[in-house]
């Protein structure tokens, strides 16, 4: 399993339409639901918001990573959405989110490979140049190439 198996081309939204956190959430949820990996869209949405309540997932540096481990998810997936002008996400550093990674993890999943991949993604997002490259990628092919360039970077 690789990150590109979790974040497939049909899960990339290079121009998000929504201009608020809630709109973006819906948009990404719709995209995810279309691929059929959600068994219960509402359940997953509740779990996503529960996590936001606990503390915003707008981690700063223009990134938000709404995520949930949820019974409403069948298969682990990542949806990537981009909003060059930014979306208010109640970030810790006050910056709007320009890159949004919605991470869906099933409640029960054999193995931990998907968790390792998400761990690698999280670690990689700290890297300025990686973020910049994601923002500048012209098309899905470019994004895909960037994602595939990711080392299985464990320390």
């Amino acid at each position: 399993m690789k990150l590109s198996d979790l974040l497939t081309e049909d899960l990339m939204v290079l121009e998000l339409n929504g201009s608020s956190r809630d709109e973006v959430m819906e948009e990404l949820l719709d995209r995810l639901d279309k691929t059929g990996v959600l068994s219960d869209r509402d359940q997953f949405k509740r779990d996503l918001y529960a996590r936001e309540e606990h503390g915003s997932t707008g981690i700063g540096f223009g990134i938000a990573i709404p995520h949930g481990k949820s019974a409403g998810v069948r298969e682990p997936r990542v949806v990537f959405g981009r909003k060059p002008s930014g979306v208010e996400w109640d970030s810790m550093d006050g910056e709007p989110a320009r890159l949004v990674f919605m991470i869906a993890v099933p409640e029960e999943q054999a193995g931990e490979e998907h968790l390792r991949i998400l761990q690698a993604l999280s670690r990689r997002l700290i890297d300025d140049t990686f973020r910049q490259a994601l923002l500048e990628a012209e098309d899905r092919k470019k994004v895909k190439a960037l994602i595939e360039s990711m080392e299985p970077g464990r320390k």
């Binding site: 997932t57 481990k69 810790m92 968790l115 761990q119 464990r154 320390k155």
Partner: protein, 475 residues
């Protein structure tokens, strides 16, 4: 020395923030030139887990946690607790707070932590204990070695004591005997003694990557055939190997490497490179001097024949106790064995008495002054008594390896005493073996004085070592 920090990151879901925080802390520490290790408690479970040893030596601990974690292991350390988001956003600031000393010591009892004076003294006490890393490395090696010495020593003692028969080659357990396989198991345990000692000395210096180079180095040090010597370098060589391996591994660890290589550093690159370096160093640099040292000492002893008996006894006693199974000990022992063939059994008589006083003396010492010995050393002391009875000098190695500068002079003095008393009173031994057991198999002439010599050496060892040794600092 660089400041050494540890951190634990943990968030409720354990999917993303835990690892981002870990990454940020690692980067900020790298920029500040500080060593850091970050344990992540995420959905995969705890990874990169902090060891007790690391916590003990760390200057401080950052807990970037949004859920409660187990705190007991950080008792008495400087602990900074913060939110995961703080680690993501201001990792540099967190690290600077340690540099400026702005972090208090974690005490589970509240009232203590509110009195800075008390925390201060605790910290100073801790510092005092942390001051001598060499001693701590030695004790780490010794504590892992003790079970091997005890198992090996007791099995060998048992099989020699109950199944040994005197012969030209010393006490031998006949092949058909029930005790032969027991002896073999015991000898197997002894084979691990020096490698384990060296391995865990190296681990205390370089963590897990030090284990393989340390053990391999220790094995080579203990086996003279690697460098054309009749005897290996003994436990002193093992200590040397452990420190060399540890420092080499730590040095390689500190080299900057490309990120791609990092995952294979601790399991491949560091052990491989350090093992080769340590092995070659022993074979080509340290081996030759050990072999020529043995040759020189043998010639020296042969030249001593016919000179003052007291002087010879003092020298033999000192040599037997000095490295207990190492090259110096071997030379003296082989000299005594060779002299039996020439009919000069009084030389082996002196050696037989000297052989058993280090373990007997340390066993007695650990019974007399319990406060000066760790609990595991007290157990090793009882086993040492049994080993002393059958002449296994190695029983004292755990004590000597843990505190060489105080213990080795003590056991040398004891063995010198025993050898001199035996020599002057004409004790003889016609079997190349030592300890009370050779009297039990009727190989000794003048048995009463043989025991007087052993008793004198044992008491001198115990008293002198206990005068020299400092009380154990309690944990």
């Amino acid at each position: 020395m660089n400041m050494k920090l540890l951190a634990v990151t943990s968030c409720p879901n354990g999917i993303a923030h835990t690892y981002m925080a870990a990454e940020k802390l690692a980067k900020a520490a790298e920029e500040a030139g500080i060593d850091i290790k970050v344990e992540t408690q995420g959905s995969i479970g705890a990874e990169n887990v902090l060891t007790e040893e690391e916590i003990e030596t760390a200057d401080g601990i950052i807990l970037a946690v949004d859920k409660s974690i187990e705190m007991d292991r950080f008792e008495g350390k400087r602990v900074l607790t913060c939110a995961v988001s703080d680690a993501i956003h201001k990792p540099g600031e967190l690290i600077r707070r340690f540099e400026s000393g702005d972090v208090s010591v974690h005490r589970s009892r509240k009232e203590d932590s509110e009195k800075p004076g008390i925390s201060q003294t605790i910290r100073i006490h801790k510092k005092g204990r942390a001051q001598n890393p060499v001693y701590r490395s030695l004790m780490n090696g010794v504590s892992y070695m003790i079970p091997f010495v005890v198992v090996g020593g007791l099995l060998i003692a048992l099989s020699l004591g109950l199944g040994g028969e005197p012969g030209a080659k010393g006490l031998v357990v006949p092949d058909h005997s029930f005790w032969a396989p027991i002896l073999k198991v015991g000898e197997a345990a002894f084979t691990f003694m020096v490698p384990i000692l060296a391995g865990f000395i190296a681990v205390s210096i370089a963590d897990r990557p030090g284990l393989a180079p340390g053990m391999i180095g220790g094995y080579i040090a203990a086996d003279g055939s690697f460098y054309g010597s009749e005897a290996g370098a003994g436990f002193i060589g093992g200590i040397l190997a452990g420190f060399i391996a540890g420092y080499i591994a730590r040095w390689i660890k500190s080299l900057p490497v490309p990120r791609v290589l990092q995952p294979i550093m601790p399991i491949l690159v560091i052990p491989l490179a350090a093992s080769i370096l340590v092995g070659l160093l022993f074979i080509f640099v340290l081996g030759a001097p050990i072999a020529s040292l043995m040759e020189g000492l043998t010639q020296f002893l042969q030249g001593m024949q016919g000179s003052s008996k007291v002087l010879l006894a003092l020298i033999l006693g000192a040599m037997i106790a000095f490295d207990m199974g190492g090259p110096v000990n071997k030379v003296a022992f082989l000299f005594g064995a060779a002299m039996i063939a020439e009919g000069q059994t009084f030389i082996m008589g002196a050696i037989a008495a000297a052989i058993c006083t280090p373990p007997l003396g340390m066993g007695l010492a650990s019974l007399l002054a319990r406060s000066k010995y760790q609990p595991e050393e007290q157990e090793a002391g009882k086993a040492a008594l049994a080993m002393g009875f059958v002449g296994i000098t190695e029983g004292a190695i755990p004590f000597a390896a843990g505190d060489p500068l105080r213990v080795i002079p003590g056991i040398m003095a004891g063995s010198m005493t025993a050898a001199t008393v035996a020599m002057l009173s004409g004790v003889t031994d016609n079997v190349p073996h030592g300890g009370p057991i050779v009297a039990a198999v009727q190989a000794v002439g003048n048995v009463p004085m043989f025991f007087v010599a052993i008793a004198a050496g044992t008491v001198v060892t115990a008293l002198l070592v206990n005068v020299l040794k400092k009380p154990v600092q309690t944990k």
